[in-house]
């Protein structure tokens, strides 16, 4: 089943800057697709477009276009931002519960589900800690727990681990793929790391800049879970080399050289 259906959607901001060329893209259920590209290529804008935080200037973005109305409860979207975006004045549990509280879910039920989400990201011992008491990696886990608490079927992640050190990032990448295999999730993930893209994805979409468009597409066929062995494998290196080349070409591509790919 198609989860995201984008039909030549583009975005021109009010100040006249064209952030996105018309883009067409379909993401299917169960994919872990990655958007990679030079900074300013409109990756984040594309993600915000899908989340409905901005609307396309033309074209359309549809989620679950051919779903029947009776499986509505399976269609939930959640978003993980670049920064943890936690409320500094609330403890971890209250932060994680936020989507449920806003939706009017009862206190005990919300608390129970928050506890489960915290367990998934390994923060069960930090329910009552305040965000400032957590490390960057733990803050990001809390942010992911908040996204998981709604039991989403589509997760949009905007460079969630970009600000973290390499070791923490690798660990969170492992955990994310483990979650993804367990939870029947569809994930669209934005990153600027070639290694992260190759490690995580079933499919990598390479974007080029100004205005942003999809420049190339690479399928990564290796089965999940991938683990440390995959990171050290020749296949991994080959995928990374190929993706780096494409990324370099995408960064150099002159405006309007759409057919060069």
């Amino acid at each position: 089943m198609t989860v995201i259906q984008i039909a030549s959607a583009d975005k021109v901001f009010d100040n006249g800057v064209r952030a996105l060329e018309p883009i067409s893209l379909a993401v299917r259920e169960g994919e872990l697709a990655t958007l990679i590209g030079p900074s300013g290529c409109g990756k984040s804008t594309l993600l915000r477009l899908i989340a409905g935080l901005v609307s396309p200037s033309s074209g359309s973005v549809r989620l679950w276009p051919d779903a029947q109305s009776n499986d509505e409860k399976r269609r939930r979207l959640d978003f993980v931002f670049q920064s943890p975006t936690l409320m500094a004045w609330s403890d971890v549990e209250k932060n994680v519960r936020l989507p449920l509280d806003l939706a009017g879910v009862g206190r005990t039920e919300a608390s129970r589900r928050a506890g489960r989400a915290l367990m998934l990201v390994g923060l069960q011992d930090f329910r009552h800690a305040y965000p400032r008491q957590l490390s960057g990696g733990m803050q990001m886990r809390a942010s992911i727990a908040r996204a998981l608490v709604t039991d989403p079927s589509l997760l949009l992640m905007d460079e969630p681990f970009g600000a973290l050190d390499e070791i923490t990032r690798a660990r969170l990448d492992d955990e994310l793929t483990a979650l993804w295999t367990k939870q029947a999730l569809t994930i669209l993930f934005v990153t600027h790391s070639v290694y992260e893209a190759v490690f995580l994805s079933t499919r990598v979409l390479v974007m080029s800049a100004r205005p942003g468009r999809i420049f190339a597409e690479v399928a990564i066929g290796e089965t999940h879970p991938r683990g440390a062995a995959f990171r050290a494998s020749e296949a991994f290196a080959r995928h990374c080399a190929r993706l780096s080349e494409l990324l370099a070409a995408a960064s150099k591509a002159p405006v309007g050289a759409k057919d060069a790919a």
Binding site: L53, W89, L102, Y130, R132
Partner: protein, 265 residues
């Protein structure tokens, strides 16, 4: 790190106290050594003695001034926060009303106090109104700024989760505004006191009861400079206590999360 904690306490309380003692000693010595007459500059010990001897009179004035100050501060907080909430509802409302808040702020209170005293029969109420006008602006402008200073990411998040206007206000805007509000409160507390004193200077005697400003005015006329100094001391003390109390309130409310109130540990 016991040592550094002790050093911290010493520099926090010990240093200002030492400076105070040193200055008072210097003052006492200078007044005695140069035989300055007490109707020009009274010695600190004389001021202290006056404070004790005239306590019945001065304490009644202190209570009066305190009442005016606290009533004005309360009114400024309630009115100021209400105005800030109205301002953030939409830009047009803010744009059309904010200049008048500024107008209120920049008009010297001594210039409008006589009018208010004519209009309002009860002197106490007139004084409270004057002091409220003086104290209002920091609460309004800081709270307005605070209610607007919400993290863009959190705003997106609330939008994504379909939060209502009310939910966004209570769960996002109000907590974000608290540090700003407390900064404003601290300024307003000082201004309420200044407003209460200045307004009383203009109003003169309020009949049977009078505040510290009136004591200063009267002592000046009678050349009772020690009592003038004693009243001045009480005003300064009130200001310090108010400022400390508002700082404590802020710490109590923000200690868990806001950078300004988090002690290094």
């Amino acid at each position: 790190m016991k040592r550094s904690r002790a050093t911290g306490l010493a520099s926090r309380y010990g240093a200002p106290v030492a400076v105070g003692v040193l200055l008072l000693g210097l003052w006492q010595w200078a007044v005695t050594a140069y035989a300055v007459p007490s109707y020009l500059i009274p010695s600190p010990t004389l001021v202290a003695r006056t404070l004790v001897n005239d306590w019945t009179l001065l304490s009644r004035s202190l209570v009066f001034t305190l009442e005016i100050t606290l009533a004005a501060l309360a009114a400024a907080v309630i009115l100021g926060v209400a105005m800030a909430f109205v301002f953030v509802q939409n830009r047009v409302i803010e744009a059309s009303l904010f200049p008048y808040a500024v107008l209120l702020q920049v008009t010297p209170i001594v210039a409008i106090a006589p009018l208010i005293i004519i209009w309002v029969n009860d002197t106490r109420i007139a004084l409270v109104i004057c002091a409220t006008i003086v104290a209002l602006f920091p609460v309004v402008s800081n709270t307005t700024l605070g209610l607007r200073s919400i993290d863009a990411g959190l705003a997106d998040l609330f939008r994504l989760y379909g939060a209502s206007r009310w939910q966004t206000l209570v769960r996002l805007r109000v907590p974000s505004a608290l540090p700003y509000f407390f900064a404003g409160l601290r300024i307003s507390a000082g201004l309420a006191l200044i407003g209460a004193v200045v307004a009383e200077f203009v109003a003169g005697t309020g009949g049977t009861v009078s505040g510290l400003a009136y004591q200063i005015l009267l002592s000046g006329l009678q050349l009772n400079v020690p009592r003038l100094f004693a009243a001045l001391f009480l005003i300064a003390l009130t200001g310090i206590v108010l400022s400390t109390l508002t700082a404590w309130t802020a710490r109590l409310a923000l200690r868990h999360w806001h950078e300004s109130e988090i002690k290094d540990d």
